[in-house]
C-alpha cells in the first residue's frame, strides 16, 4: 500500500476549501462553458432538495442570473422521500427567487412499466411482493468483514412485516434496470426543456459520486457540464453554507431518493458516510497508508484497506459508465 505522508496526522482539514475562491472559479467556468463554448441562453437544473443540485442551481444563478436558470422539480409517486424532496426543492427555488416547473414523472414511469418490471424482479425472490408493499436494496458493510458485498432486497408488507432476501443475479439486474427508468426519465425531461429553451443541462454529481460510479448511465450521469464534479461531497457542503443554500437542505442527510423504503447512500452503495468516504478517497489518491487514515477515522488499517479495495472495485465498474461511445474505425474528418 502507499507510504505514510510523514507530514503529520491525516485529518478532515485536508478537505477544507476557500469557498469564496471556489465559487468564483466555478461561476466563471459556468459562464464560459454555457455562454461562450456552447452558445446556450441559460441552463436547466433538475433539483431534488438535495445538497448537490441545490449548490449547482445556486452557482448557476450567481453566474448567469435567475432569468437564465430553469429549475425542474420531478417527483415520482413512490419514493420514500418524495414529499421532503419536493418541499426542499421549492424552498431552494424560493431562496433563488425562481418559480420551479413541476414535472411529475409518475405517468411516464407507469407507461414504461417501471414499477411493474421492478416488482416482477422482486417477486423472483419474494413471491408474495405486491401492491401496497415497499422495498429497497441494501449491501452489507464493507468495513466490518471481508465478505463480498452481495445485494439483498428488504421488502415491507402493508402490515409492516419486513422480509430480507439475498438477490439472485437476474433479480438484482432486473430491479436496477427498472429503477434506472427514474433517473433516465428525469434526464429526458431536462433535455426536453433544454431543447425548447435553447439551454444547456447542468449535471450535479460531486467527485465522490463521479469517481465511484454512483450514477445511472444516460440518467443523472448525462449532462452538458458538471460544475461540482471536481469537489468532494464534504466540500460541496462547505460551499453550500458559504453561498447561502437554505439550512434545512444543508442539514438533510443524503439519500438515494429512489426506493419506496427510506434508504441511505451507505446502505445502497458507499462503504461509509460521505465525509469518511471523502477522506478515504482523498487519501487513496495520494497513496496514504491505510493505518494513517484509520487513525483519523477511528478505524483499523485493515478496515481502511477494505474501503480502498472497494474504491478500486467501483472504479473498475465506473469506467464503463464514464465511457463515451467507442468506434470500430477512425472517423473521417477534415485534416488540420
Amino acid at each position: 500500500m502507499g507510504e505514510s505522508t510523514g507530514e503529520g496526522k491525516i485529518s478532515f482539514d485536508v478537505l477544507k476549501i476557500d469557498c469564496e475562491q471556489a465559487a468564483a472559479q466555478i461561476e466563471q467556468s459556468i459562464k464560459t462553458i454555457v455562454l461562450k463554448r456552447f452558445r446556450k441562453r441559460g441552463v436547466v437544473v433538475g433539483i431534488s432538495g438535495g445538497i448537490d443540485s441545490s449548490v449547482v442551481a445556486t452557482l448557476c444563478v450567481r453566474a448567469l442570473g435567475a432569468k437564465r436558470v430553469h429549475l425542474l422539480l420531478m417527483p415520482e409517486g413512490e419514493s420514500a422521500s418524495t414529499d421532503e424532496s419536493t418541499d426542499l426543492g421549492r424552498l431552494l427555488a424560493r431562496s433563488l427567487e425562481i418559480e420551479p416547473q413541476l414535472e411529475d414523472i409518475t405517468p411516464v414511469l407507469d407507461g414504461t412499466e417501471c414499477y411493474a418490471r421492478r416488482d416482477a424482479a422482486i417477486r423472483e425472490v419474494i413471491p408474495e411482493y405486491g401492491p401496497g408493499w415497499r422495498s429497497k436494496i441494501v449491501l452489507p458493510s464493507v468495513v466490518d468483514s471481508d465478505r463480498f458485498r452481495i445485494f439483498s432486497v428488504i421488502a415491507q408488507s402493508p402490515d409492516g412485516e419486513q422480509i430480507k432476501a439475498r438477490l439472485k443475479p437476474d433479480a438484482y439486474l432486473g430491479i436496477v434496470a427498472a429503477t434506472n427508468f427514474k433517473q433516465r426519465t428525469r434526464k429526458m425531461m431536462e433535455y426536453y426543456h433544454a431543447d425548447r429553451l435553447n439551454y444547456a443541462v447542468a449535471g450535479t454529481p460531486n467527485l465522490l459520486e463521479y469517481d465511484q460510479g454512483f450514477f445511472v448511465k444516460g440518467g443523472d450521469g448525462l449532462a452538458d457540464f458538471k460544475p461540482i464534479a471536481h469537489l468532494y461531497k464534504s466540500q460541496v457542503y462547505q460551499l453550500a453554507e458559504a453561498i447561502g443554500v437554505p439550512a434545512e437542505i444543508c442539514g438533510r442527510p443524503p439519500t438515494t431518493d429512489t426506493y419506496s423504503l427510506p434508504q441511505s447512500q451507505e446502505e445502497f452503495y458507499f462503504s461509509l458516510p460521505y465525509d469518511r468516504m471523502d477522506l478515504c478517497l482523498w487519501a487513496k489518491n495520494r497513496g496514504v497508508d491505510p493505518a494513517d487514515v484509520g487513525e483519523a477515522l477511528g478505524l483499523t488499517g485493515k478496515q481502511v484497506e477494505r474501503v480502498y479495495r472497494d474504491i478500486d472495485s467501483k472504479r473498475r465498474m465506473a469506467s464503463y459508465l464514464h465511457s463515451q461511445p467507442l468506434f470500430s474505425g477512425p472517423l473521417d474528418k477534415e485534416s488540420d
Binding site: S145, D146, R147, F148, R149, I150, L167, P169, Y172, D312
Partner: protein, 90 residues
C-alpha cells in the same frame, strides 16, 4: 466429484459466462478475482448462483468471503468442503 473436476467446471463457467467465451483469457486458477478485477460484483453473484444450482449447496452469507470465492482454486476447495459437510450431515 473430485476437486480437480470442480475446478475445471468452475473455470469453464467463468470463461463461458463471465469472460464471454474468451478461451485465450490469460488467468490462473489461483488468480484473485478481486485484486485483478477479473470478475466484478455482479459476476460473483452469478458464480454463487451457479455453485448453488450446480452442486446443490447453500452458501450462507458469512461464507461469501475471499477465502471461499475469490479464485477458481478457492471456489473448488470450498465446494468440496461444502459437499463433504453435506454428506457428513446425512
Amino acid at each position: 466429484m473430485s476437486t480437480n473436476q470442480i475446478q475445471k467446471d468452475v473455470r469453464e463457467y467463468v470463461i463461458e459466462n463471465l469472460l464471454m467465451g474468451d478461451e485465450e483469457a490469460d488467468f490462473s486458477d489461483k488468480q484473485s478475482f478481486l485484486d485483478t478485477g477479473l470478475v466484478d460484483s455482479t459476476g460473483i453473484l452469478e458464480i454463487i448462483n451457479f455453485l448453488e444450482d450446480e452442486y446443490e449447496i447453500e452458501i450462507e452469507d458469512d461464507e461469501m468471503v475471499p477465502e471461499n470465492l475469490d479464485s477458481v482454486e478457492n471456489i473448488a476447495a470450498f465446494v468440496e468442503r461444502k459437499k463433504n459437510n453435506n454428506l457428513g450431515g446425512q
